[in-house]
Amino acid sequence: MKLTGSKILLECLQREGVDQVFGYPGGTVINIYDDLMDSPVKHILTRHEQAAVHAADGYARATGKVGVAIATSGPGATNTITGIATAYMDSIPMVVITGQVPTPLIGNDAFQEADIIGITRPITKHNFLVRDVKDLATIIKKAFYIARTGRPGPVLVDLPKDVQVATTKFEYPESVELRGYKPTYSGNLRMVEKAAAMILAAKKPVIYVGGGASLTDAHAELKQLAETIQAPVTTTLMGMACFPKRHPLSLGMLGMHGTYYANMAVTNSDLLIALGARFDDRVTGKIATFAPHAKIIHVDIDPTSIKKNVRVDLPIVGDLRDVLTKLLKELGSQTDEVAKLAEKLKPWHEEIAVWRREQPMSYTPSKTIIKPQFVIEKLRELSNDDAIVTTEVGQHQMWAAQFFDFVQPRTFLSSGGLGTMGYGLPSALGAQAAFPKRQVIDISGDGAFQMNSQELATLVQYRLPVKIVILNNNFLGMVRQWQQLFFNKRYSQTCMELPIDFVKLAEAYGATGLRATKPEEVEDVIRKAFATKGPVIMEFKIAREENVLPMVPAGASLNEMVLAS
């Protein structure tokens, strides 16, 4: 039987197990939208294409499945760019379908034409222009395969209108063959043996965990490794929820706003075991003085991540879960040596305990003004363990990372690599669509919230009960903090002169708005919000010039921290 391109697309989505897509219609995707009406694939209409892509991203991060977004050509396609770049930087599996002008018009500056293939080439893992309906099914199959395998990432498929209308016999390929793409999953055993030997020889090991642990769902193996070798664990923002912060071996986050003790441990360690992390500059600080005494083991599925920023003594290319499983097996065959570790590493743990005591994660509480850290602590206390937290970007994001104790994997969704303000609300939308029954919380700032606040409409329309926390300091707080510390308090363009009534804003969309202006109101507002059925904005008027500390100034060494006290 012959099918049109748009029907083939929807058939393919079903074969890939896609039950939920996010998008926004327009002229060059109108055929797809027409066919969507008869398809079991559910569609959520966001209020902006950027939000559709972030929603697909949030869906992907929360579930581990490939997120799917649809946009029309030209402005619809260009609106997806920030979302795609965000997903690319954080290696999120995603397929973005864009409409394109009919093939005969491509290159003619046709109405709503944009070279989205050219534009997205450097921010996608791969992209495809479909020029013949006969290729469509294979291309969709390849797109999903590329998006979810190896180091995951966004793949864009540009689908001209005439290809959507053209018909061909539909056959979904069983498998794909890409001779240039063969990711290495299996870690080299000899390298793993060497890693085990290095671990057994170390006196001051630190495990440094990145987003790869989340992408491979390697939390159980990670915990087992840490406990087996008694090594302290620090995570990046992306690795945050992969290791429970309340675990005695947890050092919390490292890097620019990491804990004092994580940064000190890394700086003093003699073996850094990097797992699915990529030595981002926000993590390393000044490269020349990063982990100066440490041998480095680097496990990553992407060979380009290895030795990109730092020297590596032992590279292991492979899937993190595979490598950890092999490593645990190897260590299991050396039980005598492993048994000695607890005793041997005692001095190291004592050293760390001193740093912990000297500079615990803390803030100065207040009885009169709401401290943002206090709000985060209360949120943790009053939310469920499996609550999914998303963030925007700014101080509130860092406070969330520092003071919310994540206990389950895939519960912290934040734009780490690109640092995209406006990510939190739509990604929460996507996560809530995936898990309608779980608590989903967007921790937001007053500035970033306004970058995609239109998505309140989507939440209300689809009954997605996301709880939004706005830590309102009436500042673009993170930039203001830099101006305070490094630009003589010259607050150029960071004061949001116009105070927004976020309660009224919520109500305008038919959501619930709550506000706390005093510390004693905080708990009540949070309780009320969680007890409310639909989406809620909780606005907290916080201490306006509170800073995120500790802080490693950009370009400084990890042990050169500005401390809280």
């Binding site: 293939i117 080439r121 450097p122 791969h126 222009l129 001779r179 240039g180 380009t304």
Partner: protein
């Protein structure tokens, strides 16, 4: 250090832009790039001359390999190989220089491929150094225009690379 790299890629729409964009986006050097289909028309072969320290070259190799359309990357630096480049050069040829131009072309086994009362156009092939040398010798005669293809390279010895090997 100068490196000559062959990249075998899927002969797909936009593949040249992917490779060129990779170099520009990551700040890698491209000294020259030449590209054409291979015996197997589904594969194109690019020869890229680039430069950088070991760390950069390792990244270039890995990043090229990471492209979905890349089938194979060969860095010839540590391999016995040959490089050949084609150059067409249009030189002023008046009564005073005509004979000398021909003599130089001859020494380099160049061919005159176009003649006018005022110019010779010479075709010469060879390793990049040889091309540089003839250009230097012709320069005093007055070079009106020249074009170089950028080198192409192949490993020495009996072994060859084919898709699927």
């Amino acid at each position: 250090m100068r490196h000559t790299i062959s990249v075998l890629v899927e002969n797909e729409f936009g593949v040249l832009a992917r490779v060129a964009g990779l170099f520009s986006g990551r700040g890698f050097n491209i000294e020259s790039l030449s590209v054409a289909p291979t015996l197997d028309p589904s594969i194109s072969r690019m020869t890229i001359v680039t430069s950088g320290d070991d760390r950069i070259l390792e990244q270039i190799n890995k990043q090229l390999n990471k492209l979905i359309d890349t089938i194979k990357v060969i860095d010839f630096t540590d391999e016995e190989h040959m490089e050949r480049e084609l150059c067409l050069v249009k030189v002023t040829a008046d009564d005073g220089t005509r004979a000398e131009v021909l003599r130089i072309a001859d020494i380099f086994r160049g061919k005159v491929v176009d003649v006018t009362p005022k110019s010779y156009t010479i075709e010469v092939t060879g390793a990049p150094d040889k091309i540089n040398a003839i250009i230097e010798l012709l320069r005093p005669m007055g070079i009106k225009e020249l074009v170089r293809s950028g080198p192409v390279a192949l490993g020495r010895g009996p072994k060859g690379w084919r898709a699927g090997d």
